[in-house]
Assembly symmetry: C2
Homo-oligomer: 191 residues x 2
């Protein structure tokens, strides 16, 4: 998605050739028009398959997931909540996720009420790096007896293991921007 790459080059802040902050349009301030365009782009890329529901995770996945749900005609979406600690309840699917950025683990939870069995699910998230968050969402969808039809990512760091691990297990991953390296704190895109 050319407009996204342009905005990453223009506004992205890269720290230690490792962390990309895009607080100016995605993770703190939100550019409503660009986010709605992202939703339309995901709808276009996945228009060959049927999607029943979108699953994302708080916080920064919510806006893009909503844009995608709208572009797909108003399908339901559910966002996993992040909990530091948890009284485990029978009515929730859970996944343990380690955040390499924050260097801490958390538990992602989705109520069983909002993740029925037998659906085709599109997972949406803002970043794909280690793949830990996406893998946690995949696990919850499959625990629910539904199928991961695809994984839509805004920014993929292709040099980290997430994409390869998910693709290696047969999941279809579509990323709107793929970064193959950071050089001198500038992103180098994969295509």
């Amino acid at each position: 998605m050319e407009e996204l790459k342009k905005r990453i080059l223009q506004d992205g802040l890269i720290i230690d050739n490792r962390i990309l902050k895009i607080d100016s349009f995605l993770n703190h301030q939100i550019d409503a028009a660009l986010i709605m365009d992202m939703g339309r782009e995901f709808a276009r890329r996945f228009n060959d398959i049927h999607i029943d529901r979108i699953v994302t995770i708080e916080t920064s996945g919510i806006a893009v997931a909503l844009a995608t749900a709208v572009a797909m005609g108003g399908i339901p979406l559910v966002f996993a909540r992040k909990k530091k600690s948890l009284l485990l309840k029978d009515d929730m699917y859970t996944a343990e996720i380690y955040s390499y950025t924050k260097e801490e683990a958390y538990t992602a939870v989705i109520s069983r009420h909002y993740l029925p069995a037998g659906e085709q699910i599109l997972i949406i998230d803002d970043f794909l790096a280690s793949g830990a968050a996406a893998a946690g969402l995949v696990q919850m969808v499959e625990d629910a007896g539904s199928t991961v039809a695809g994984i839509g990512i805004v920014v993929e760091k292709s040099f980290q293991p997430g994409r390869r691990a998910l693709a290696g297990k047969g999941y279809r991953v579509e990323a709107l921007a793929r970064i193959k390296a950071f050089e001198d704190n500038r992103p180098v895109f994969a295509e």
Copy 2:
């Protein structure tokens, strides 16, 4: 907003005549069509004033704030982040907020980069009860040298002090559903 009231009656879970959970369309699962309608309703109610920017707070304010930003023609929005603890930085506005629901305090932060001076701001949030979160957002907007042009709330618990406190200070509050009481764990609407 009649559709919202209908959905609260149909899907809302009320606990101890005190807490309203609307996880089926706002706080966990999101009904994309209904949320976009809420955005259009806020745009209609505030169409007599100029708005430069929307300010909300993670997590559940984000979807409605995005819908409103889209309905207002794609104006910028920024969401405050909630921090448990914090190294105070010069480049952030902060507010201490006590959550009566969670019975804990947190610090809300917004980067100065995304809250410029001299703007007309619409604050959007999902619930108004004690008014603590809205008051914190108001304080940050005014610390930034901008003006609170209005406060848009999805569900107001009119029997708690938030609405009266904000209106008493002259702020314009528009709530899409106003609950004046819970009786036998059912909501009674104000109009």
